[in-house]
């Protein structure tokens, strides 16, 4: 897997944790999944992660709180939010806070790819 950028998925929902890493691997990335922000913060992956697919509403530390924490730690990790919520204002709000994108669940693989391309600033070819 050397040379593959690492994407971490942080989501308390098991369906997402089971499905998303496989798709990311199909897209050519390395991927790991965590069920909470706390678990991610305590892991070794935090140093290698280049991009975070992050749920917004989670028990304990929420997505945006994790984002702030990472910024405080001076880590430069691109954040793509994935949310099950319906609130149309959430996306604009999250982009303003420095997110790359905010995807509403369920999302298509095209939408995911597009967001990942922005996250990696298009300087990586996929497939």
């Amino acid at each position: 897997m050397l040379g593959h950028s690492l994407i971490s998925v942080v989501d308390d929902d098991v369906s997402v944790r089971e499905s998303l890493p496989d798709l990311l691997r199909e897209l050519g990335y390395a991927a790991v999944a965590f069920s909470s922000a706390e678990e991610f913060l305590a892991s070794d992956s935090i140093g290698q992660t280049e991009c975070l697919l992050l749920d917004i509403a989670m028990p304990g530390i929420s997505g945006p709180e994790l984002h702030s924490e990472l910024t405080l730690q001076g880590r430069n990790i691109a954040v793509i939010y994935i949310t099950g919520g319906e609130d149309p204002t959430t996306r604009a709000h999250m982009l303003k806070r420095g997110a790359v994108e905010c995807l509403r669940k369920p999302f298509s693989d095209e939408a995911l790819l597009e967001a990942l391309n922005i996250a990696f600033q298009g300087n990586r070819t996929i497939n």
Partner: protein, 623 residues
Amino acid sequence: MVDSAYAESQLPLDTALPNGVASLDSIVRTEEMLQRPSRPPEPEKENSALAALVIALADSPGTILQTLADKVLEVLRADSAGLSLLTKDGERFYWAAVAGAWQPHLGGGTPRNFGPCGDVLDRNAAMLFTHWELRYPYLGAALPLAEEGLLVPFFVNGKSVGTIWAIAHSAERKFDTEDLRVLQSMGRFASAAYQTVESIEDLKLEVAAREKAEASLRDLAGSLEEQVHIRTEELRFSEDRWKRIFENSAVGIAAVDLKGRFVMANSAYQRMVGFTEDELREKTYLDVVAPDFQPLNIALMTELLDGRREQFNIEKQYRRKDGRLIWVRNNVSLLPGADGSLRNIMSIVEDISERKAAEESLQHTQARLSHAAEVATAAELSASIAHELNQPLSGIITNANTCLRMLDAEPPNVQGALETARRTIRDGNRASEVIRRLRALFSKSTLATENVDLNEATREVIALSSTRLKKDQVVLRVELAKGLPQVTGNRVQLQQVILNLLQNASDAMSAVGDRPRQLVVRTERDEDDGVRLSVQDAGVGFDPAASTKLFDPFYTTKNGGIGVGLSVSRSIIEGHRGRLWAAPNDGPGATFSFYVPGRSNEMPSDLSPAARTFAQDSTARNS
């Protein structure tokens, strides 16, 4: 005008106001009292007190003022209570009757022109005082000091002759508008009592005069004392005095004989029913009772005459002479005659048509509110459902995408594709589980009462609220008692109450940042095979003084909250013959609990009006 802040800080007078006294405004709290949440009326207690007073007036008029003070103390749960009468020269008030902590001060008094009683007579209105000794230093000697004193004037022939009052010595007891209403009603009684006492005084004078005039005949008569006694008895039970009591009363009073025929009725009663006293004498009490209430009235009257009860209270409708129906509150009791054997039945009647109209309009409003709350709940629920469904749907779509890509690869990754297909099925099942829970919540008839397992009902609500609770960073602890008895009720309504309580608890903790937002949902067995459910939060809590107001429609401590939830919830629980209440925690936050009786205590076939309107409302919406 003295700065009122001095009085409010309750500094000793000599340091705060070396050259003056506290202003009247600074010790008056009447306006504030009108804003306080008022305690619920206790009509039975009040009626019994009123009945006891009327009987006392007949039996022992000499002590009627003291009885009145005792009853004020009891009904208002005051620490002290009493009556002040203006002296004949109009210079002073003297405390003619005192009950409670101030009893030792009986016979004391205040100057007409410099004291709370005088203020009340000047303004010709009820007033609430706090720490009056700040303005009237001589009251500093009347211990214990009065934290609050509520005074109501009373009148005879339009002239104010005194005040009736209640005092709280501790800060715990705060008088409210309900206390004011009760005290005013007793004030009206005081007017009647006062005139009777005056007539008793006249009677004593008359007896004294007779004694003097007949003193020389004492030896000859031999039994003057007996004669005086007989004469006194005659006067005591004279029609005259009864008339006086009857006519001066603001409430309707009527007496019927043991066959139910009217013997007499005061003018207030005559105005209520529209018949003159002469017309009434031709009738029985049933002739003025609306047909709907006759069976109940007959049953209660039979119990009274059989000696199975001494009195009863009933709210019923009268049919007036003009055919119009009015609502009245009625206290009926047996009245022993002078010789102890002849008995009449006394009926005390208060016109409550206005209150009933207000209640009906409130009920109507509540029905509309409950509909609004249901709509709001539905919106909340649908957002929650969307979120719950989006999770497995997201998994399904991602898996399907991955599966396609794996099969499309060269060579195809069949093993991987199989795995993603299996996961797709699993997510599909998760989605259908969400749907199943929703069906469980909504497919049941919204009207039916059934046996409800409150634990199961609670689990369903928790499953549907978990997203929102998670979003609100709530740490949920669920403690459901094993072997909980089933309750009979409307499952959906009970679940709406639980949902309301969970949402309120979560909202109450939204500003909490310095401690875990812990929420505990607990079920336990309670008395009579009933079940209690409590929702305990660690939120901002509530002001204990507002605890009765919490359940009012529109009352809310939340910014932007609509506050209908608790009022509707209480209607629902009361419709299940249960109780819903709130209590502050020892630590931070509050606990809201409801109790519903168990199956052995069958639901009445007739739901309470609130539950009925709620049910009707649901039908209207579902049809």
